[in-house]
Amino acid sequence: MQQVGPESLLSLEAVSIGVAGQPGVELVHDINFRVTRGEAIGIVGESGSGKSLTALSVAGLLPAGLSVTSGRIVFDDRVISEFSERDLHRLRGKEISYVFQDPLAALNPTLTIGRQMIDVLKRHVGGSRETLRRRAVDGLASVGIQEPESRLRSYPHQFSGGMRQRVLIAMATLCSPKLLIADEPTTALDVTVQANIIDLFRAIRRTGISLIFISHNIDVVLEFCDRVLVLYGGRVMEIGTVEEIGLRPQHPYTRALLECVPRLGTQLDRLRAIEGQPPLPGSQPPGCPFAQRCPRVISRCRNERPPASYASETHMFECWNPADTVLTARAS
């Protein structure tokens, strides 16, 4: 298990997430990772791999019926997995913020953006109405929204998809949180808008906020994160720095994820797919969850869970038959 260093902001220690009242049904199994101060970590994997549940557990926002069944979550030297709902309420929005994939669902359609931003500030910061309003204006300006004064009076539907995501990011960073969690924030957006939002996250990183960025597109994460966590079937397959994951992936699943993003400039007859379906959440094969779809599967993979192996101090993977890939870096 990783030791919590002095600079650690968040650590998940052997965290499992399961269905309350149904022992043995686990959707996320034995997750270990930590985020240091100022670090950006990307979580990648397919639908159902447990990436959103892992992130939601950090914010104490697991859907009803699900809970952290074992392990603990430590944030800023506090064991937040044991926090009461009241304590979590104080933490969320102030120290840990969340940006969701669908900004329209995350905003109240009947209230102006300004009202919703000021509500957040009122709860966590306080101050005169004018101070809060100024801060909301600054918040909108900081995410690149033109004429922030007048846009405060706009309703969510009056913004485009990309602008709404900016508003949500402005709200999430209003109280200068220590940790920002973004769950697929660019998936619904056009590529050019996605590029702008990624630039915005780069700028946020420079303010020292730690970031957990979730995506099913590994190339997006490689753009601006420090480290990458690869999840599959609710388990960690591989974790390493961006260079280790992007250029020297050990786990066949990581390699498959890299390959199935179509590359511009290579002409193939067929795109590389990962054939088959991801396992159903909650199914717990005795071996590696990827064994069914893995091109490098050996008999051991189906019966025994692979132990953690290390390619370097920062590069961990769980695989019986690693690919030991070395990829050529592109000229930038």
């Binding site: 490689l222 179509p262 870096a329 592109r330």
Partner: protein
């Protein structure tokens, strides 16, 4: 029809939508119409995969709907295999509708949630004129073609994964024995890993069934790999068109260049190098 002959000849097609009119829109001086397509000309040849890329609001779906006969152009002409759409009689129009099938982005909402997959597909076979006695065999054949098992037929759409639902959407189109498939963002709701499966399926079907495919997508990576020729759309106009490899490697229009440079590139040069 000869290989390489024109399936669609689109000449200076414009499409304007009238926006809802109310006293409020007057007061806000909101525009009364929306020009979704303006003077678009494009030729699509038999047997090719023709890509249309562009962002939200570029008019790419409207172009697909005009080709599929769902939307009537406001001006200009669309010719399908030598017959202009506007000159088609009832019978010809029916045949055109059968030969040109659309695969929608969200097959979850395009399929009837109350009906089992098999029932939906049998209906399409009936509409395609397959006699009752042959429908069971026809159903098995199209399920196999799209990579689904026979027992998927007794499931409801919500019991399938996104990728499987999209396979059903393709199966329904194939049941009509089309010459042309218009796929409107067929993979954008799917995981990256499943996207490749669906695109590969479309390419296999094109070879096996001699289909012409119009692939509409905002995913440049997918379009770059899967298409022979491509049109780049912006604001209802085609800003650049040509062989896909040329457009991707040597884009001429600044907008095409901007689109390409916005795609996240990862770190590696090319996986095939290893």
């Amino acid at each position: 029809m000869r290989h390489g002959s024109l399936v669609f000849d689109v000449q200076r097609v414009s499409k304007t939508f009238q926006l809802s009119h109310s006293i409020f829109s007057e007061l806000r001086r909101a525009p009364a119409e929306l020009k979704a397509l303006s003077e678009v000309s494009v030729q699509i040849r038999r047997g090719e995969v023709f890509g249309v890329i562009g962002e939200s609001g570029s008019g790419k779906s409207t172009l697909g709907y005009v080709l599929g006969g769902i939307e009537e152009p406001t001006s200009g002409s669309v010719t399908f295999c030598d017959t202009p759409l506007h000159a088609m009689g009832r019978q010809e129009r029916r045949r055109f509708r059968q030969k040109t099938q659309i695969v929608f982005q969200d097959s979850g909402s395009a399929l009837n949630p109350r009906r089992k997959v098999g029932s939906t597909l049998r209906d399409s076979l009936r509409l395609a004129g397959v006699p009752r006695s042959e429908r069971a065999a026809g159903l098995r054949a199209i399920l196999q073609m799209v990579g689904l098992a026979v027992d998927h037929a007794i499931r409801f759409p919500h019991q399938l994964s996104g990728g499987q639902r999209q396979r059903v959407g393709i199966a329904r189109a194939l049941a009509m024995k089309p010459d042309v498939l218009i796929a409107d963002e067929p993979v954008s709701a799917l995981d990256v890993s499943v996207r490749a499966q669906i695109i590969n399926l479309l390419l296999d079907l094109r070879r096996e069934l001699d289909l012409t495919i119009v692939l509409i997508s905002h995913d440049i990576g997918v379009v770059a790999h899967a298409t022979d020729r491509v049109a780049v759309m912006r604001g209802g106009e085609i800003v650049e068109t040509g062989a896909t490899a040329e457009v991707i490697h040597a884009p001429k229009h600044p907008y095409t260049r901007a689109l390409i440079s916005a795609v996240p590139k990862g770190l590696r040069q090319d996986l095939q190098a290893t």
